[in-house]
């Protein structure tokens, strides 16, 4: 059967054609784009690798990152430590592998909490408009005006506890309440454009209330851009965590974090640069991977770039 006949037959059978001839959807088009994008695959592999590292560090190294002996100070590679040992005599590679967990936890939870705040605020502002929008938008402006690092230093200075859990939660809390504004703005504007669609009027016409209209009809249609923003934000939250830990106000030993190791490596940079370079590379690649992934997804979903 020729191609034309197939199409004609598909149309005659009421439009239910075989999957290959299905009309294209935005997500389908985006996937087709992504599949051919090497940046997407590279970043995806990196993201999956870091995630696996955070979940099962034992798969990547058999050394204990807390097993430090001064006798091995700045010793070269060997004994399962491909990059050798740092000033304290710890396995540099093992510490970097185990450091992924704290970074990803902070990144993922900050992005999650940020997303929840942003969706709530952006949805309320965009849907109800008027004075609610005016009030919430000013709150966004105010929070946006606070320098992230300065505010984080001020807030984290108040927390004296050294318990790893408390510090992780504190860092997530601080990054979340300072970092949700961009995502909230994105959500607000996509809610405003979704609100004017006919299907929202149709839902109201059939008697749907505000809650149902917001969460069932508007939210699924305005979520795509914010997912992209949050993927990129996840990368920058990881960087921010490292920055805070580097400055000594984020996570603290015995928690293993790239930021802490970078700080320690910097002190003895003259003797050996490797303890500085390895965790820095892990950090840079992870942040880069999330940002590239977000970028690739955004490009794929933006019809104007096609």
């Amino acid at each position: 059967m020729s191609e034309l006949e197939t199409v004609a037959a598909a149309e005659m059978s009421g439009g239910k054609a075989d999957p290959a001839a299905r009309p294209r959807s935005l997500a389908g088009d985006a996937w087709r784009d992504l599949r051919r994008n090497p940046i997407f695959w590279i970043s995806l592999v990196l993201v999956l690798a870091v995630t696996a590292m955070a979940a099962f560090p034992g798969l990547f190294t058999s050394n204990d990152p807390h097993d430090c002996t001064l006798a091995r100070q700045h010793a070269g590679p060997g004994g399962g430590a491909p990059f050798g040992y740092d000033f304290q005599g710890c396995d540099i590679y093992a510490r970097s592998v185990f450091g992924a967990r704290a970074s990803l936890l902070v990144g993922a939870f900050s992005a999650l909490v940020t997303g929840l705040i942003a969706i709530t605020v952006g949805m309320l502002a965009g849907y109800f408009g008027r004075w609610i929008d005016a009030a919430l938008s000013r709150v966004i402006d105010v929070v946006l005006g606070i320098p992230l690092l300065l505010a984080a230093i001020v807030m984290l200075k108040r927390i004296s506890s050294d318990s790893p859990n408390v510090r992780i939660i504190a860092v997530i809390f601080v990054l979340s309440i300072l970092g949700w504004t961009t995502a909230a703005r994105v959500i607000r504007s996509s809610v405003i454009s979704a609100k004017q669609q006919d299907y929202v009027a149709a839902a109201r016409m059939l008697g749907a209330g505000n809650g149902r209209t917001m969460w069932r009809h508007i939210l699924p249609n305005s979520l795509a851009p914010v997912i992209v923003v949050l993927t990129i934000a996840l990368g920058s939250f990881i960087a921010a965590e490292a920055t805070l830990s580097f400055l000594g106000i984020g996570l603290r030993a015995p928690t293993i974090s790239w930021g802490i190791d970078i700080d320690a490596g910097r002190t003895h940079m003259r003797e050996s640069a490797i303890p500085l370079v390895v965790p820095s590379t892990f950090l840079a690649l992870t942040v880069l991977a999330f940002i590239m992934l977000g970028d690739a997804i955004r490009d794929a979903f933006d019809p104007k770039l096609r």
Binding site: S25, Q197, A201, R204, L206
Partner: protein
Amino acid sequence: MSDQFGRQGAVATAAAGGDGGHLLEVRDLFVEFRTRDGVAKVINGVSYHLDAGETLAVLGESGSGKSVTAQAIMGILDMPPAVIPGGQILYRGTDLLKLPEEERRKVRGKQISMIFQDALSALNPVFPVGWQIGEMLRLREGLSRAQAKRRAIELMELVKIPAAKQRIGDYPHQFSGGMRQRVMIAMSLALDPAVLIADEPTTALDVTVQAQIMDLLGELRRDLDMAMILITHDLGVVADVADRIAVMYAGRIVEHADVHSLYEAPAHPYTKGLLESIPRLDHKGQRLTTIKGLPPNLMRIPSGCPFHPRCPYARQECVDVVPAVRSLGDGRTSACHLAQEVLDGRI
């Protein structure tokens, strides 16, 4: 509310002399849009009524206010910028404009439902059509998922979507334009409304599909015993389906008549112009007749009769005095100083 219902009903019964007043009645409705550039008076005293089992066509150019009237009836106008400074919308004798929002919601969909012009944008792109048709059945009728799905299939069969059972999980973009409009119709019929408002249901469709959809709407109206308000700018669409026609211009009803008398002899120069501008096969090779000029800017509606700048018969009176609605017998009305002359064909 039952008190109000009874009293209003009695008044309407007395007025209509029939069995229970009008099903839906718009009385002297005004709607304005207050924008930064000024106030656009979109609806200026519209009155029409609809009885059970009949089809009323509301005819007019874009911007004549026909859709806004429908949105006011449904209560889906965005307020602000829209404001309703006056008028009543009586459904079975109850003024919908005075109902609290919660009560109003119960009327929507279940009593009065609406079909939108562009079915693609009126369907939510992220949910399968079956889910959307069944949504309000689950939410408002308390049907289970399985029941709602079964009912959705029935509704899709009712609007003659082939292979309804297989297509229930498809998304709106997988349907053709005509099929999409059928989905939209199925969705608005889900709660078994007494009144269906069709807002230009065929404008976004091919000519061949238009006829099918109009036939379907006519059939459904008969079979389900609904009353229908058909909003359109297409005189050709109206003739077969409607019982009565209300012609709107600049937010007013300028002429109101049953279909046959209106086509036979219009009683308003605007209607006359509209009828004359229908392309005709027996006038082959001639220039198409048009109504000269443009519809008025609703921020600056002309004095007197709003149609006077475009009217071939306009005289001084038309510039100075807003014409009252004249009754011409048989329920016919026309808002024109020269209504009788136009009707008799004397000018």
